[in-house]
């Protein structure tokens, strides 16, 4: 009875396929770390990738950070007004940005802006057999192509998240203080008295660093592992964005539960 068994067989095939890919991704990660020395010895390769993934993402990060801050300012004011504590707007905006929104939204934007382009680049290199050509010339494609892109993303991500948070706070200030008229001194002083450097800001930076590693690894792996056809590359790009988004949100939950466990 082949018809009855075939769905089960497909399920089994899909499962082993996933596990195989997970194992390959882990091995790929260790290979990548082993070959990373070259990307720091030949630093111009990494700098080029910081330019591609970091500098070119500046605009989208700045603008979206500003708008997220504006929205937070408006919505926060709307709610805080009911309890007569609009001076706490600064706390609300800055804490939600430095702890959660900054790292998470910046990482989501980074995955779709920079991660997808890295996957597309590596996937196309594979399709046009450039990676194989490098191998033939005794140039390790992981050291020459993959590692610089990975480290470029890892270095860019915390900087972009910090910029996002800073722009968001400015946006909240713009709405709260300049347009609505919350007291300027209360806005900043309440914010400063309740945002802790180690507890809030440093934890946010750690989060964005972890997201940077996750997004960059997913992006380079999906590109390296893509099926070398036009369709395969496009599928790999889709997978990069979807997997990155899931990984960011899941990791965020795990990190938050470790970092902010009911001490404050």
């Amino acid at each position: 009875m082949p018809d009855l068994l075939s769905p089960i067989r497909r399920l089994g095939h899909a499962t082993t396929e996933r596990i195989w890919r997970l194992g390959f991704a882990t091995r790929f990660f260790f290979l990548l770390l082993l070959q990373s020395g070259a990307s720091f010895r030949r630093i111009h390769l990494t700098i080029r990738e910081i330019f591609v993934s970091g500098v070119l993402s500046l605009l989208i990060i700045t603008v979206s950070g500003l708008f997220v801050g504006l929205v937070l300012g408006l919505q926060g004011y709307e709610t805080l007004q009911r309890y007569g504590s609009t001076e706490a707007l600064g706390i609300l905006v800055s804490l939600s940005l430095t702890r959660e929104l900054g790292p998470v939204v910046a990482a989501l934007l980074f995955a779709s802006r920079a991660g997808s382009s890295v996957t597309a680049e590596i996937g196309l290199m594979k399709t046009t057999e450039q990676l194989k050509a490098m191998d033939m010339m005794a140039v390790d494609p992981i050291a020459r192509v993959v590692a610089p892109r990975f480290w470029g993303g890892v270095i860019s991500m915390p900087l972009l998240a910090a910029l996002f948070s800073a722009m968001g706070v400015l946006g909240g200030w713009l709405i709260g203080v300049v347009f609505i008229g919350v007291d300027d001194g209360a806005f900043w002083s309440q914010m400063q008295s309740s945002v802790d450097f180690r507890y809030d800001i440093l934890n946010g930076v750690i989060k964005s660093f972890v997201f940077g590693v996750a997004v960059s690894l997913i992006a380079v792996f999906e590109g390296y592992d893509s099926v070398p056809t036009a369709e395969g590359v496009s599928r790999a790009i889709t997978r990069t964005v979807v997997t990155s988004a899931l990984a960011i949100l899941a990791l965020d939950f795990v990190l938050t539960s470790f970092m902010f466990r009911g001490t404050s």
Binding site: H44, I47, R48, I50, F51, G54, V55, L58, S94, T98, S156, P158, L159, L160, A162, L163, S165, A166, M167, V169, W188, M191, Q192, S193, V195, D196, F197, Y199, D200, I201, V205, T263, S264
Partner: protein, 156 residues
């Protein structure tokens, strides 16, 4: 090593990123106001600390003079031991009174230091002898309710 235009842009990017981090830590966070480098420790024991939290403020005359460093439970006396880091610029007399107050009706709780008139000062590491516990709202309400109830019985 020849410098390229790319390096310039990456330099700008890194500078902006570090600038944003500095802005966050100096203007948003309290790294600049956390100049309590020379702080000393005082302890106080309370019967009940209510909702007091670590890192909460210690105030005297409404001015923040320190932060709560640690809260623990003394299993011998069954009291809460609150350890406070006090700014080294401020000293308090021996008969200082430590109480737990609430800022506003629903605000955070803090330790208030009410200064006495003693000539001698508290030394670093000292334990404040006189304390007053947090006001537990439920107890107040139940006291009110029961006193009203007993009044009603007497009138019969």
């Amino acid at each position: 090593m020849n410098r390229s235009v790319l390096d310039f842009w990456v330099g700008i990017f890194v500078a902006i990123g570090i600038g944003a981090l500095l802005f966050l830590s100096l203007k948003v966070g309290n790294l600049s106001s956390a100049h309590m480098s020379e702080s000393y420790v005082l302890q106080a024991k309370f019967d009940n600390i209510g909702g007091l939290k670590v890192r909460g403020p210690v105030k005297s005359a409404g001015v923040v003079v320190g932060r709560i460093a640690d809260i623990s439970f003394d299993s011998k006396t069954y009291e809460a031991v609150v350890t406070m880091n006090i700014d080294g610029r401020y000293r308090f007399p021996k008969d200082t009174f430590a109480s737990i107050y609430t800022s506003g009706l629903l605000g955070e709780q803090y330790v208030g230091l009410d200064v006495g008139g003693d000539e001698k000062m508290l030394n670093p590491g000292d334990v404040i002898a006189k304390t007053q516990s947090a006001v537990v709202l439920e107890k107040l309400i139940s006291q009110l309710v029961f006193s009203k109830a007993s009044e009603g019985q007497q009138q019969k």
